[in-house]
């Protein structure tokens, strides 16, 4: 049955419109609308897919969320080469190969993630090569990595961007399968990338470049968040922090495969949740990958070097089985109280009472396991204690430690940290707290150790939440002193006579290479209030108005030096074109010898974000042109 009902439809008859407009005194656009644009957006076109990418030292993870269903965070769990077995993460490993008999100049084929047989050689820990100031763990050979890269005419950034390209392609394929092609074609995909808290500015920039080359958008479109900050974002959302109150500090310990990253936050307000960094990020190379090497050494010593090497070489599956049990069961679940001994499967190894091999299992006692764990656990404890001490010295109260990352899931690490920080009994109850009690509480007060569910994927989940909600961190701590060098008028009270020179342009005695420090290490910075540097410059007529200055950093713990020295770090060169500045803002001046020049005062503004620096150049409060930062 087909009924024709009078419905008000959206499709309009143009003649009707004409007559209605005529009678209703219709004007095409109001003047406000013409100036300010459409008053209301016709439809919410700004729904986006936010993809978080945790590019880790040993494993990487991807999470995605659609902005209109923000509670539905999805973790990618299927990976090429995974043989149908799901995994929250994929190994950060890549290898190149030339197909057999390929002519010269052929592009090498790429294998990555789970696509390797156990014995195949591959590039590991490539992430750590991005920051030249980072130490490499002993099991990564820089020479071997360099040799492999050279053979295929690649550098570290190529390898990283090739790896990220694989991750990107797989992510887009997975999302397309999930949401459909037409949805993907019409929906903007935004990437949020994580990086260690201790990364240098140059390393962050290199990471962004690699992500840009992988197709994740332009450098300015890709957001970055530090790993512990991402972990904190997720944890505070996941565990309702009932026992935390405004003013409290908590330390986030992101114990990953290769590195351990720490950062401390102070809670500014609980609703809405706002925090600020309360201690500068620290870190160490004591991730859980070390435990695997210590485990390997242990097995080698127990069953004998010859038998071990034979097993690893000829019975690869046997060794892989044992290592996997170690990785997935022992490392995460080992607990002294529950496990007096652990049986690690090594199928096919003959019984050997002396070595402790029985029915294809290697018996490991709790003390033996503890011995393997001890140095790594101790270093993590020391790092956390260091942060806690730092906050307490400044009179802050530390009420929680949040444990995240692969090794952060470890039961043993959790128990050890808990006993380390919960030794003091609570002070006796009294009506009014005494000063002594308050001091005792600050010095020995117990700290709650928290381990959220999904500790392994906390970073990537936090990255997605950041993309969804924007920053909850209102201020951060500077990791270095930041400054610029300048020349100034010689002052006999401040400078040596030998340092001065006569400037024919300024017609004064001057000194150069003075350092002005705009940001002090450990200082609280807010993205809302940029830091301004004021300059003045004399341009000769016809001189290029492209101005460049170096941003210089110092890692000194005390006062940074007053003049430029070779051990200072050249962070980047800031270049801007002042060509757009109106000529009327320049002041024409002439020296006594008739040299003409145009003087201009300008301000360089720097904004500090979670994982990077942004710059603007202003004259009289107005922005003219972009500042390009070229990192060294």
């Amino acid at each position: 049955m087909n009924l024709s009902l009078p419905i008000r439809s959206a499709s309009r008859n143009p003649r009707n419109d004409e007559s209605r407009n005529h009678f209703m005194n219709y004007t095409p656009t109001s003047s406000t609308e013409a100036i300010l644009g459409p008053i209301r957006e016709p439809a919410p076109l700004n729904d986006r897919l936010i993809v978080g990418l945790d590019f880790g030292t040993t494993y990487s993870g991807v999470a995605a969320v659609y902005t209109s269903t923000p509670d539905d965070v999805e973790i990618i769990k299927t990976w090429p080469g995974g043989n149908g077995i799901t995994s929250d993460k994929v190994p950060t490993e890549i290898a190149y190969d030339f197909p057999p008999n390929s002519p010269e100049g052929t592009n090498p084929t790429i294998k990555w993630g789970f696509q390797f047989r156990p014995e195949e050689s591959r590039l590991r820990c490539i992430k750590l090569f991005l920051d030249r100031s980072q130490k490499l763990p002993f099991y990564v050979s820089p020479l071997e990595t360099a040799a492999q890269l050279k053979k295929f005419n690649k550098n570290v950034v190529d390898a990283v961007s090739d790896y990220l390209t694989q991750v990107y392609d797989h992510t887009m394929e997975t999302l397309t399968r999930r949401y459909g092609e037409s949805f993907m074609a019409s929906t903007k995909v935004e990437f949020v990338l994580t990086c260690p808290a201790v990364w240098s500015d140059a390393a962050k920039n290199t990471t962004l470049q690699a992500a840009e080359r992988a197709g994740m958008g332009t450098k300015s479109d890709i957001q970055m968040i530090s790993e512990p900050e991402a972990a904190a974002v997720y944890t505070l959302k996941a565990i309702q922090p009932n026992h935390l109150s405004a003013g409290d500090n908590f330390v986030v310990c992101d114990a990953g495969g290769g590195t351990v990253d720490l950062i401390a936050y102070k809670i500014i307000s609980l609703k809405p949740l706002r925090v600020e960094e309360s201690a500068v990020g620290t870190g160490g190379l004591c991730g859980s990958a070390f435990l695997n090497y210590r485990f390997e050494e242990h097995v080698r010593n127990r069953i004998g070097h010859q038998r071990f090497d034979e097993m690893k070489l000829k019975k690869g599956k046997c060794w892989q089985m044992g290592l996997r049990y170690w990785e997935e069961f022992v490392k995460r679940n080992f607990n002294e109280e529950e496990h007096a001994e652990v049986n690690v499967p090594f199928p096919g190894l003959p019984d050997d009472e002396e070595a402790g091999l029985d029915c294809g299992f290697l018996v490991m006692t709790a003390p033996q396991i503890k011995e393997i764990f001890e140095p790594v656990v101790k270093e993590v404890c020391d790092l956390v204690q260091g942060q806690v001490d730092g906050i307490r010295q400044k009179g802050g109260i530390v009420s929680g430690i949040v444990l995240v990352g692969g090794f952060g899931q470890s039961n043993y690490l959790y128990t050890r940290l808990k006993s380390h920080f919960n030794t003091a009994a609570p002070p006796p109850y009294s009506e009014r707290p005494t000063h002594a009690q308050a001091t005792a509480l600050i010095e020995n007060g117990s700290v709650e150790v928290m381990q959220p569910v999904n500790a392994w994927t906390a970073v990537v989940r936090g990255a997605v939440l950041r993309g969804l909600e924007g920053s909850m961190v209102v201020s951060r701590k500077a990791r270095m002193h930041y400054g610029t060098s300048y020349a100034t008028v010689y002052d006999e009270d401040k400078h040596q006579v030998s340092e001065r020179y006569w400037s024919p342009l300024w017609e004064r005695w001057m000194v150069s290479d003075r350092m002005q420090w705009h940001i002090t290490k450990g200082e609280t910075l807010s993205a809302a209030s940029p830091i301004s540097f004021h300059y003045t410059r004399n341009f000769r007529p016809g001189q290029s108005l492209i101005v460049s200055d170096d941003l210089i950093a110092s890692d000194a713990d005390g006062e940074p030096p007053a003049s430029y020295t070779r051990d200072l770090i050249n962070v980047c060169t800031l270049t801007t074109d002042l060509g757009a500045v109106p000529k009327s803002l320049f002041t024409r001046l002439t020296t006594t010898r008739g040299v003409e020049f145009d003087n201009l005062d300008f301000t360089l503004e720097m904004v500090v974000e979670s994982a990077g620096l942004a710059f603007e150049l202003k004259v009289d409060g107005f922005r003219y042109g972009r500042v390009e930062a070229e990192f060294h």
């Binding site: 300048y486 300059y535 000769r540 002041t587 003087n599």
Partner: protein
């Protein structure tokens, strides 16, 4: 470091802006010896480095040329301003304020 058409000859010779002529001379000799293309046949940039060192010395060792160049150098280096809000009167013969 890119300063476009501007070349920092002081930076090339690794001497300071106030360095006396004798320092410029020693710095040039040391660098020229180290970067001599005959001794650095395996370094492809040796020849161009050597030429840059020579050009820098040509200007900085000549008193008149150095003085002329100093104007250029000064105009390519930022000075710290005491404040951006106070502007000197236009056409003033005096140099602008510096800290």
């Amino acid at each position: 470091m890119t300063r476009f058409d501007f070349i920092d000859h002081y930076a090339i010779l690794r001497v300071q802006r106030q360095a006396p002529a004798s320092n410029v001379k020693t710095a040039y000799r040391k660098l020229a010896l180290a970067h001599c293309p005959d001794k650095n046949s395996d370094d492809p940039s040796a020849t161009s480095d050597f030429q840059k060192i020579g050009a820098a010395n040509g200007i900085l060792s000549d008193e008149a040329k150095r003085e002329q160049y100093n104007i250029e150098w000064d105009s390519h280096h930022s000075q710290r301003a005491t404040s951006t809000s106070t502007k000197t009167t236009k056409g003033s013969k005096a140099n602008p304020k510096l800290e």
